[in-house]
């Protein structure tokens, strides 16, 4: 059967790959904006956490005090995140994969069960939905358990796994938007700088993690969203074996003993923000925790805010495995985006939504542009890159420009019936 033999460049599939990573990011941001605009209209809830440990904002402080306080908060938070990331690297180095996986399952369960339950309760109270506690508990239990399975097991339906990852990102992002305003903005900037340092500096924890994972040919133990690989239709392989692109499986033809144990549970293990917190905090139930109003935050790092492009059929693969796979495509890896990126993008857009929808549109466009730039750099440099800095920088810049300059202009134009 004649097939098209024109050589593929990365540009051919680039558009599709971008769309496949932009869609879940956009969905997550949209859902967070929706949640923020529905649920936050009445109360100004503030939550005590590690991110507000140094200073809690009151509206009567001067701007400089607020800024200093926010800076202290963010530095404290980033310090906690750095320590936790180093612990994660250490555990990964010591091959405690099972512990990391269990930890990740536990954190997903807490996020989906408790935070999802809280948000559902907000909805129920807002709209006075007459649901009884039995059905509520059954539905919540189902939702959380299947979510844990989807994140835990590497071979669940792709759509289900991706959906649950987006939901986890959404819940954590919504929770972050409950922080005070100055703290949120300074935290975003500081996290972007931390991401830059952690991934690019040779001593950065995320870079160590990526290098460890690549040298062992394993997956990084973190909550990572992986887009479907783009299939090329012109791979002129004449083999008769059914070719199969294995989803998320390491093609370990060598089959070392460790690889065997890792073969099933490669993906995902680790935590994200609030959950590490729950583990560290006191043993009381979630109810007691809420009543005390104490929610300590944890490590967004473990949702690894980095973006990675795995090349199938490269990186130390033997020719035997290449023949088995029959691919020889080379340029159709799957793009992976850490869940921390989802979370922080959505936090930025959610915070923008708390001001006005104009800032939401501006920030959304800025973030998408930043993500596109990052993806192009990824295709160019072919190594793990931090996904936060460019997008957050553009997003924050656009937010402040829109809020202080554009809004005045647009409002005046509208009032005088000049435009819009």
């Amino acid at each position: 059967m004649a097939q098209n033999q024109r050589p593929t460049t990365f540009l051919d599939s680039f558009g599709e790959e971008i769309i496949r990573i932009l869609t879940p990011v956009s969905i997550c941001m949209f859902l967070v904006v929706l949640l923020v605009s529905i649920l936050n209209s009445n109360s100004s809830a503030s939550v005590t956490s590690i991110a507000t440990i140094a200073y809690s904002e009151t509206s009567s402080d001067s701007s400089w005090d607020k800024f200093l306080g926010a800076l202290l908060n963010s530095l404290a938070f980033v310090a906690v995140v750095t320590v936790a990331t180093f612990i994660l690297v250490l555990l990964f180095y010591l091959r405690c994969t099972k512990f990391l996986k269990i930890y990740m399952g536990f954190s997903s369960f807490v996020v989906l069960g408790f935070m999802g339950g809280e948000i559902a309760l907000f909805f129920i109270e807002e709209f006075s939905v007459p649901i009884d506690c039995i059905s509520y508990l059954v539905v919540l239990f189902n939702f959380a358990v299947v979510g844990v399975l989807a994140v835990f097991m590497s071979k669940m339906a792709i759509l289900v796994t991706q959906g649950y990852l987006v939901l986890i990102g959404m819940f954590v992002a919504y929770w972050f938007t409950l922080l005070p305003e100055w703290t949120t903005w300074v935290l975003l900037v500081v996290m972007a700088l931390y991401d830059l340092a952690a991934v690019l500096l040779p001593v950065g924890p995320l870079r160590l993690l990526v290098e460890l994972a690549m040298s062992r040919d394993e997956d990084i133990p973190a909550l990572v969203y992986e887009a479907r690989p783009v299939t090329h239709h012109d791979s002129g392989s004449g083999e008769n074996t059914v070719r199969r692109r294995v989803w998320r499986e390491r093609r370990n033809v060598r089959h070392d003993s460790e690889d065997n144990s890792n073969l099933d549970g490669n993906v995902v293990s680790d935590s994200n923000s609030t959950v590490v917190a729950v583990q560290h905090c006191h043993n009381g139930s979630i109810i007691a925790r809420v009543e005390e109003g104490q929610v300590s935050e944890g490590n967004a790092e473990l949702s690894a805010p980095l973006i990675d492009h795995r090349m199938n059929g490269q990186d130390g693969m033997s020719t035997e495995s290449l023949v088995l796979e029959g691919m020889g495509l080379g340029s159709s890896g799957a793009i992976k985006l850490g869940l921390g990126d989802f979370i922080f993008y959505s936090v930025l857009v959610g915070r923008a939504a708390m001001y006005d929808f104009m800032t939401v549109y501006a920030c959304y466009l800025a973030i998408v542009a930043g993500l596109g730039i990052t993806l192009m750099l990824l295709a160019f440099y072919q190594k793990a890159l931090p996904a936060l800095p460019v997008s957050i920088a553009l997003g924050v810049l656009f937010y402040f420009l829109t809020r202080f300059l554009l809004e005045v202009f647009i409002v005046q134009c509208s009032l005088n019936l000049v435009m819009f």
């Binding site: 339950g117 006075s128 189902n142 358990v145 759509l159 289900v160 479907r228 239709h233 008769n240 059914v242």
Partner: protein, 148 residues
């Protein structure tokens, strides 16, 4: 041919042909496009599981669903949708997937009827129990949304 089928055809239904040839041994005839039965039992097609691996998954999902997890049954049916759709394929997987579908329908029927009775019946059907069972009162009593 079959390679392109596996690659370009994300849905597992191959080209329809005039004489459907139910394929009994997939191990040897996996590449035959003369059969109208799909090659991949999962909805992910070539990215998903092969038939041998999926037996243990289908069985495990089915058994775990009995722990009050109808949603797991629904995910099982969704995941192995080709098994449900082509009624003569994958005979080893079929009982579990069909069992999951039946279980999900029955459980959700029961749950929906209970929830609707509760919501529509309201106080004059249940009396004072209604106030004790309804979720927003329970949340208030236990202080579950304490920070709002």
């Amino acid at each position: 041919m079959e390679a392109s089928q596996a690659l370009t055809n994300p849905t597992p239904n191959p080209n329809p042909n005039p004489n459907p040839n139910p394929n009994n041994n997939y191990a040897s005839n996996r590449n035959s496009i003369l059969s109208s039965t799909p090659v991949w039992p999962t909805i992910d097609g070539p990215l998903g599981l092969s038939e041998d691996e999926s037996l243990s998954y289908a069985r495990r999902f089915y058994k775990f669903g009995y722990a009050l997890l109808p949603w797991l049954w629904a995910v099982n049916c969704f995941y192995f949708w080709p098994v449900l759709r082509h009624s003569r394929s994958f005979p080893s997987l079929r009982p579990y997937v069909v069992g999951s579908a039946v279980g999900f329908t029955v459980f959700s029927a029961i749950l929906c009827s209970w929830a609707l009775t509760f919501a529509i019946g309201g106080e004059h059907l249940f009396g004072s129990i209604w106030d004790q069972l309804v979720m927003y009162n329970v949340a208030d009593r236990l202080g579950l949304t304490g920070w709002s």
